[in-house]
Symmetry: C2
Subunit: 332 residues, 2 copies
């Protein structure tokens, strides 16, 4: 990022990480420092129009916290789940977002509303780019980010630059680790995500309970007033030595090991960064277990890549979104 | 490649593709045209020194065919199997080459002998680069080459440039397609090569015969005076409708489909080029079958990559080696 005086508000960027349940916002200065942050729930009704309103309100709020009008920002980036067209700022497909059933010119509409230039990127791709620029990937010219959450997403840095292919690169969750294996939420079989995604793990846990397994996972869920197994619930169950949780996490780790090692055999990157809701929540001990699970599959086992936990944690997506608006880092 | 007068011999490059059984040589002019070609067997005794002698003799011979002294070449490239250090021209590890048990300064020794600058690269990586520059990959800025032979090798072009990672990128044969599955020649389990490599297919065929399967594969082998199942023998058996050959090739294709689709999900490249001994020999109908086998595993199935057969065929390795010596295409 270009150096500038700390007070130069023209260089301040806004970042919005649009998720299925919440919108996370940050303001970022030219040094990559987070000036303010806030979050609010993603509207579950009203479709794209309601979401644009909520994005704008979150932006106004994160600006207010830093005493800054959004119109005075150099630009705003949005990281969104699903397929994006970065050139037109259109969100093509976002199964995760309530009521979002067809392509929608997100950047253009938010730009009209907020009166500031808006740039759009895929949420995981920008989070990984943020780790490369400001986080755990800073020391590397090539890296693979693996975002372990409800699904397993990914992003690539090749030669110091984000590699997005024809727009959809990084789908490491859909590397096939067992041809003909478990059904994935994408409809296909044997994908890594079908074993390692938190969504798949919850489905397997529910099935196991039906088959008579005992577990504290769902008691913990009810005690927390949740209707799904969050990362925190998995972490708690593991802490308590719950056998089913350990069994399912162990299987997830084995599959992450095989899939990530496959990617490393293909790309020979310097580093792998583990992020995402579950990755961040379970933290370093589980990064170490992924390292162990990768080892038997590495083609050059004597020289494994560096394996690191995300350095920016749950802000990586919003920070990466802000970097989309940085004129010194944009491609094209 | 820089344009120059056709007669400018300073721009002529030599390429040597060093394999376990043969050395293939070409001379290449500045337009990428092959001026002459020849091959000779790889010495099976005498180790690195004998191989350097044979490389030099092949170079002298390919020069003679074009009435050109090797010393007058602009440079010579060597593509070698295994791990190379391109900066020092050292072949680090080449299990495939008889008597080659430790790192050896191949480029330096051949350069001394031939009195011409010598550059070293990995055989499959340079073959894929040749396809990108002059062959089936010319139209694409990103591609994956899959070299289907005794093993399954690969190479990557990202942003129009060869991507070699930390030196070993492209090992698509060692993507895990069935965790815990068949034993691979690399010692690990479930690699794509453990099902799709010609070596693995031959081992499975021998095992099937032991278990009472009938096949014409080994009769064809004996009739040809061979001691292993060459690509030509597989092609012949398939032509004759041999059930075991079809079964094993079908399994190989399924695994190639899963493994290549995994790589495409990760990299979202524009094109996949199929080469290698078996790929080239079986040709377009089998490229089409790989396409069909990939389809169920593609994360963006409505937009598959272009899938093409190698355009340079069995010369791709030697042409790619020659391009290593082209000053306009060298990195670093």
């Amino acid at each position: 990022m270009k150096q500038s005086a700390r007070g130069d508000r023209k260089q301040i960027l806004g970042g919005l990480d649009l998720g299925g349940t919440k919108i996370q916002a940050v303001l970022l200065d030219a040094h990559g420092t987070v000036l303010s942050q806030t979050r609010r729930p993603t509207p579950q009704e009203g479709g794209p129009a309601a979401i644009i309103e909520a994005l704008n309100a979150t932006l106004v709020e994160v600006g207010r916290l830093a005493e800054l009008d959004p119109e005075r920002l150099a630009g705003v980036g949005v990281g969104a789940p699903g397929a994006v067209d970065p050139n037109t700022g259109t969100l093509l497909q976002a199964g995760n977002l309530p009521g979002w059933n067809e392509p929608y010119p997100l950047a253009q509409e938010l730009s009209k509303r907020a009166k500031v230039p808006v740039f759009l990127g895929n949420d995981v791709q920008v989070a990984v780019a943020a780790e490369s620029r400001l986080g755990a990937g800073k020391d590397f010219r090539s890296m693979l980010g693996v975002w372990w959450g409800t699904g397993v997403g990914g992003g690539l840095i090749i030669n110091g630059q984000r590699w997005t292919g024809r727009g959809a690169a990084g789908e490491i969750g859909h590397i096939v680790v067992r041809r003909g294996g478990a059904r994935c939420s994408c409809g296909r079989r044997g994908c890594m995500e079908a074993y390692a995604g938190r969504g798949a793990m919850e489905r397997m846990a529910r099935k196991a309970v039906k088959h008579g397994y005992s577990t504290r996972l769902f008691d913990l869920m009810e005690a927390k007033g949740k209707d799904r197994l969050t990362s925190g619930i998995w972490a708690r169950a593991l802490d308590k030595g719950d056998a089913l949780a350990e069994k399912l996490v162990h299987r997830a780790l084995r599959m992450l090991g095989a899939g990530i090692a496959s990617a490393v055999n293909l790309l020979d990157v310097e580093a792998v960064i583990i992020g995402g809701g579950l990755g961040t929540r379970l933290g370093q001990p589980y990064v170490d277990r992924i390292r162990t699970a990768m080892q038997p599959h590495l083609f050059v086992p004597q020289r494994p890549p560096e394996l690191r936990l995300s350095g920016l944690g749950e802000l990586s997506g919003a920070i990466g979104a802000a970097l989309l608006a940085d004129p010194t880092s944009r491609r094209d």
